[in-house]
Each structure stands twice: as structure tokens, then as C-alpha cells.
């Protein structure tokens, strides 16, 4: 297991280095450079040169690159160009919010989709397909709804119409109930498409297992349907489900950008959009790397969990 983990970890390091390199050089590909793009028409001549110096853009490219890598290794994420705030400080405030939304979404989605998918599989197995048909159809439509549109529709109905959830306002960490109300809609919006994916996977995985010989054996021993379903079927179906939970995390990260924007939540996504709009390349570069890092870390964990869950895999 350790050997496998070490190998995967090394692979992950290579990917991370690749990501940092790719992001660094892509941002240097901009016609002109970051300085002139940032300044627009407002600066010229000497002022532009000074900005370039400030950004370290006057150094040769390889030097800039290794300097950037060194900074990252020391945990120095740099400052925003426009407001001169350390990016690490911004992240320290924004990242917990984004991760809470993502985590709450996964938990909610798993709680809903696994029983739903299992039930659908069970009923197909018993020859009653209506729930399965309804679920498959609904899952497809929900999966294809543009998240920003779903968010606005829910906002219209539940915040503006029924007044159940606040549509905006401060996030106060000392008041958990207000946070929950404030984050409820974004989490619901994001979990909709997660539920669609996960319920479908659960259904297929459980259905596969229900046709296995050992399930028939368990039945022939006179065990109750529920016990067969949970002790045997669901336990063995857990592997593909765990994998998909990990993989769909990437989509989820993309989705957080959209809901944070709509519900004005000060997370990483809003930071990213602010950075792009104010042409703050330092900020954008760092945030893209952070997103990729989170995603790669989740994939790494999924890999390990998969290995640990599957007793058939030999180390």
C-alpha cells in the first residue's frame, strides 16, 4: 500500500509541476505582456517600465519561472497587483467557504442519491420499472440544466417568492444557522446535478451486484431482502460509487464559481472573477493553480480510498 501511495504521490507531484508550468507559460503568451494588458491605455513609457519591474517581468523568462517555483515552494503566493494584499491572506478567507460548499454538496448528494439509486435498482430487479424510468428521465434533464439558470429559478421561487432563504448578506461564522440558510440554496443547486450522476451510478452498480451468485446464495439462506440489499449488494457497489464521487468533484469546483457569483458568496470563485475583471494576472495565476491542486489532491485521495476499499487488490 505504501509503495502504491508513494508511486501515486510522485505522479501527482509531476502533474502539479506540469500544471504550474503550463499556467505560468500560458499567461506569458498573452500578446504584449501582463503589464501592458493590466495598464490598458492608462500608462505609457516610463510608468509601464516601472510596472514591469515591479512584476518582475523585466527578468529573462527562465529566471522568472524558477523564481516563481521558488516562491511557491516557500509558500509565498505573492500579492495581488491592484490592491497589494497578500494572496495567501485572501485564500485563507475564501478557501474555507468554497470547500464548505463543496463538502456540504457531496454529503447532501450522497445522502439522497444512494438510497434513491439503490431503490431504483431494487425495483428494476423486482420487475417494476416505473421508478427507474422516472429516475433516469429526471436525472438526464437535471444533468443538462445550466447551473446558473437552475440557481436563478430556485432563487426566484425560494428566496424572492417564498422568502425561505436570504438571497444576499454577510457571512457571519459566529452564527451557524444564518450561514446554513445563506448557503442552503447554492448547495441545493450544486447537489442537483451531483444527485443525478450519483443516483445513476448507484443504480447501475447495485443492479450489477444484485445479479451476482453470492446475492442469490444469500437469498437462498432465507435472509431478508433488506439485509441482502445492505449487507451484500450496497457494500460491493460502494467501489464504483466512491470513484465517481471523487471524479465528479471537478465539475463541482466549476459549479462553485457560478453559484458564488450568483449568490455573492466571497469564496475562491468570486475572487477568480474579480481577478479576471481587474486583470490581476498574479491573482488569476495563483487561483487557477490552487483549483487544480485541490482537484489533483482529491483524485489522489480517491485513488487511495479505492485501493483501500477493495480487498481484492493485492499490494
Amino acid at each position: 500500500m505504501t509503495e502504491y501511495a508513494a508511486k501515486k504521490f510522485l505522479q501527482m507531484l509531476v502533474t502539479v509541476l506540469g500544471i504550474v508550468t503550463l499556467v505560468f507559460f500560458t499567461l506569458r503568451l498573452i500578446p504584449g505582456d501582463a503589464a501592458s494588458a493590466m495598464a490598458g491605455d492608462t500608462l505609457s513609457g516610463e510608468a509601464l517600465e516601472r510596472l514591469r519591474e515591479q512584476l518582475g517581468l523585466d527578468a529573462p523568462l527562465p529566471l522568472q519561472y524558477f523564481g516563481y517555483l521558488g516562491d511557491l515552494l516557500r509558500g509565498d503566493l505573492g500579492e495581488t497587483i491592484t490592491t497589494r494584499i497578500p494572496i495567501a491572506e485572501l485564500l485563507f478567507r475564501a478557501l474555507p467557504i468554497t470547500l464548505s460548499i463543496a463538502l456540504a454538496t457531496i454529503v447532501l448528494a450522497v445522502l439522497i442519491s444512494i438510497p434513491l439509486g439503490t431503490l431504483a435498482a431494487f425495483m428494476v430487479h423486482k420487475g417494476r420499472r416505473w421508478l427507474d424510468n422516472a429516475l433516469t428521465g429526471a436525472a438526464m434533464v437535471i444533468d443538462l440544466m445550466p447551473p446558473f439558470w437552475t440557481a436563478l429559478v430556485l432563487l426566484l421561487v425560494f428566496s424572492l417568492g417564498l422568502g425561505w432563504f436570504p438571497a444576499s448578506g454577510q457571512l457571519n461564522w459566529n452564527d451557524p444557522s444564518s450561514i446554513m440558510l445563506r448557503l442552503a440554496l447554492p448547495v441545493i443547486v450544486l447537489s442537483l446535478s451531483q444527485v443525478a450522476t450519483l443516483a445513476r451510478i448507484t443504480r447501475t452498480a447495485v443492479l450489477d451486484v444484485l445479479n451476482e451468485d453470492y446475492v442469490r446464495t444469500a437469498r437462498s439462506l432465507g435472509w431478508s431482502e433488506l439485509r441482502v440489499l445492505f449487507r451484500h449488494a450496497l457494500k460491493n457497489a460502494a467501489l464504483p460509487i466512491a470513484t465517481v464521487v471523487g471524479l465528479s468533484f471537478g465539475n463541482l469546483l466549476g459549479g462553485t464559481v457560478i453559484v458564488e457569483f450568483i449568490f455573492t458568496i466571497p469564496g475562491v470563485g468570486n475572487l477568480l472573477i474579480t481577478g479576471i475583471n481587474s486583470r490581476d494576472y498574479q491573482l488569476v495565476q495563483t487561483l487557477i493553480v490552487v483549483y487544480a491542486l485541490v482537484f489533483v489532491l482529491i483524485n489522489f485521495t480517491t485513488d487511495l480510498v479505492y485501493r483501500a476499499l477493495d480487498p481484492r487488490v493485492q499490494f
Binding site: T15, G18, I19, L22, V23, T26, L27, L29, I30, M140, V141, L144, M145, P146, P147, F148, W149, L152, V153, L155, L156, L160, G250, N251, L253, G254, G255, V257, I258, F261, I262, L272, I273, G275, I276, N277, V284, I288, Y291, A292, F295, V296, N299
Partner: protein
């Protein structure tokens, strides 16, 4: 010489051509899922194409006497704060969506096929270089990658198409490569090799035609995704910029007036949904038609 002998090798592409022709011969164009897809897509397409002939305002035309009007016969989708007709703007947005969807699918399909075939067929160094880059790209969720690329390339139609394509190409390379790997060692390839077929001939006549069906299915899914990502980018203010209408930025415009004028944001979203559902059914139907094993 080589040509002559090669034509006697069981043509790999025959089965695909047969399959592609089948829907037209057997009238399977009316295959269940394809029919649903056509019922959804054809009317939207016709309305979009003939939008200039419809008795509605032009997409950019303002009418200060009809601001924020509820949907009516005159304005089926209502009007916005400047009295612009939402239906007309939506149809203009659909044009952009279709253009983005088709371009992205075409770019991703072609470059994915070329690079994926090279990686799978040659293996070794070529494979390693291509797949390392692919893996790095796949470390970004596609919407985030598109956002990142647009932040570099700028807003507007061409950067948006390029950004979404770049985010999609790695997936196509990977699919094509895995197909080529499984085909490479098949008997009919060995047979072609024994008659001294060139590598280009092997790839273009025996390998690529056999990989087309899954790639086409992937392309129609990519088109639907591209439409969603373009709409998301434009919604975030990073895609097609106003006043040019795009489905995403119309929804964005309406966000401020959600309470007073629900129709501005919601109705164009329904159109996006109908298009993506249509494309989804199309890809499902095409897959079932081309692959008899998928039929149930």
C-alpha cells in the same frame, strides 16, 4: 500495386459505412430517440434560421414604449428594460450557441483524431509526450480550464470557441488513443501489414474508419457541453459580450430584474435546456443505431 492487393483485405470501414447508411435505408431516421431529438432541435433550428423573417423586433432594436412587458402575442418571451424583444434576442443567441457547439465539436473531433491516432499507433516517445500533456490538461475541470483560457485570450466569439475546444481536445485524444490501441493488434491490421501497406494507409483506411462511431457520439455530447460552457462563460461576463446577445448574457442581463421581470432570465434558459436535451437524445440515438449491441 499496393492499392490493388489492399482492396482485397476485408475492408475495415465497410461495417461502418453500412451502419451509417442503414438509418436511411430502413427509415430508422424515425428511431425513437432520434425522433425526439429532431422534434426538439428542428423547430428551434428553423426558428433561428428564419428569425429575420418573423414579425418580431430585431435583436438589438429598443422600444421605450414597451419596457419590461410580460410575454404576449407581440412579444412571446416579453421584453427587457430597454424594450428589446427577448424572443428575438434568444434566437440570435441560439445562433451563437449553435456556432459554438458545431465549431467546438469539429475542432475537438479532428484534432483529437489526429493526435490520438498518432499516440496510439506509434506508441513510445510520441505517445508519452502527447499523453503527458493530455494528463496535465485533464487535471483541470473543463469549466475552470475554459475560464482560465478565456482570461488569457480575452472575451468574444473566437477566444470562447478556442478555449472550450482546447479544454475538450484532451478527452478526444484519450478516447481515440484507447480505441487505436485495441485495434492496432487486430488480425485485419496484421493482414494489411503482410501486404506491405504503408503506415499512413493503415491509419487512414483501417484504423480511423473503425474509430469514427464512438468519436461522433462523443462529438455530439461535446457540442451540448460547449453550448453549456459558452452560456456559463457569457453569464459570468467572460464570454460573448453585450450588446451581442448570447443565451448566457441574456440570462445575466435579467438577473438584476429577477423580481420585476422573471421572463428575461428564465425563458432563454429553457431554450438552452431544450437544445442540450435534443443533442443528448441525438447522441444516444446515433450510438444505438451505429452499435447494435447498445440497442435494448
Amino acid at each position: 500495386m499496393a492499392d490493388l492487393s489492399l482492396s482485397s483485405v476485408p475492408a475495415a470501414s465497410a461495417s461502418f459505412r453500412e451502419a451509417l447508411g442503414a438509418p436511411f435505408r430502413s427509415g430508422a431516421l424515425f428511431h425513437g430517440k432520434v425522433r425526439i431529438a429532431l422534434l426538439l432541435l428542428v423547430p428551434i433550428l428553423l426558428l433561428t434560421v428564419f428569425a429575420p423573417l418573423l414579425p418580431i423586433q430585431k435583436p438589438l432594436e429598443t422600444n421605450l414604449r414597451a419596457m419590461m412587458e410580460l410575454p404576449s402575442i407581440q412579444h412571446p418571451f416579453g421584453t427587457d428594460k430597454m424594450g428589446r424583444d427577448i424572443l428575438s434576442r434568444t434566437l440570435a443567441g441560439v445562433q451563437i450557441s449553435m456556432l459554438v457547439g458545431a465549431s467546438v465539436a469539429a475542432i475537438a473531433l479532428v484534432s483529437g483524431m489526429v493526435l490520438g491516432t498518432l499516440a496510439g499507433f506509434y506508441g513510445g516517445k510520441v505517445d508519452r509526450v502527447i499523453m503527458t500533456i493530455v494528463d496535465i490538461f485533464l487535471a483541470f475541470p473543463s469549466l475552470l480550464l475554459a475560464i482560465g483560457l478565456v482570461s488569457v485570450m480575452g472575451t468574444g466569439l473566437i477566444p470562447v470557441i478556442l478555449a472550450i475546444s482546447l479544454a475538450d481536445v484532451p478527452r478526444f485524444i484519450r478516447l481515440q488513443r484507447s480505441q487505436v490501441l485495441s485495434l492496432r493488434s487486430r488480425a485485419f491490421i496484421d493482414a494489411a501489414r503482410t501486404v506491405d501497406a504503408s503506415q499512413f494507409w493503415l491509419m487512414s483506411r483501417h484504423i480511423v474508419p473503425n474509430t469514427l462511431a464512438p468519436m461522433l457520439v462523443a462529438a455530439s455530447i461535446a457540442a451540448a457541453n460547449a453550448i453549456l460552457i459558452e452560456a456559463s462563460l457569457s453569464f459570468l461576463g467572460l464570454g460573448i459580450m453585450p450588446p451581442s446577445p448570447s443565451l448566457g448574457n441574456i440570462v445575466r442581463d435579467g438577473q438584476m430584474y429577477l423580481e420585476q421581470a422573471w421572463w428575461i432570465s428564465t425563458l432563454p434558459g429553457v431554450v438552452i435546456l431544450l437544445i442540450t436535451i435534443g443533442l443528448h437524445f441525438l447522441s444516444d440515438g446515433v450510438r444505438e443505431l451505429l452499435d447494435p449491441r447498445a440497442r435494448r
